[in-house]
């Protein structure tokens, strides 16, 4: 299985959006839980910002998902 790490041009992170919706949380709710601004979560979802691994882990913990579930991209998860 070939994998691809996010490059400079980011695509929309729909998996983050769906995971957030599954937990019935708003962008503001996730942002407050993680300790960032709502605009940062919005930028990540829209692919405008590439978060650090620390922020990725914090988001995954809040949403009860793994890094693979939300941030890893391969042929199946793109």
């Amino acid at each position: 299985m070939s994998t691809k790490i996010r490059g400079d041009t980011l695509s929309k992170n729909l998996r983050l959006k769906s995971a957030r919706a599954a937990k019935d949380m708003s962008q503001k709710g996730v942002a407050d839980a993680v300790g960032v601004t709502r605009q940062t979560i919005n930028a990540i979802e829209n692919g405008d910002y590439n978060p650090t691994i620390n922020l990725c882990i914090a988001i995954c913990k809040v949403l009860d998902r793994t890094l693979n579930d939300i941030f890893w991209e391969d042929d199946q998860n793109e």
């Binding site: 300790g35 601004t37 620390n54 922020l55």
Partner: protein, 148 residues
Amino acid sequence: MNNKGLDEMQAQRKNKIGNQTFLMLLYALMIDAGLYGFGFRWVSYPANVMIILSVLSGIYVVRLISANAYVGPSSQREKPLPKVFFSMGLAVVVSVAILLLVKNASFSTSSQIDEMAAPILFITAGVALVIAVATIVINRIQNKKDED
């Protein structure tokens, strides 16, 4: 996560804007010095540097606000609009008071302060305030649009 300061995206944006503004300041001062070297003096000495610094620091603040990198997550609770406008009005009153004080003070009659400096600085501050208010309004509209 650190709740007191800016978050990582805000810090990144702030650094970028700061670097760009610093270079703009450098270029503006060099252009000013170059113009002086060619014999063109648009405003006399202390005022020209003050104007350049005021304008560029204004640009820096407005860009920070528009990029949402001025205040961190903890202090971003929505403030009521009347309070924001009251703060703006207070800032204008204080600016006018300081300008009047400087103009009427005895040291301002010396050649150190140019006659044109005060109005130009006041206009600069006024324009910056207008831009800041516009930016706040735009941010509020964008926030409402982004909300899911």
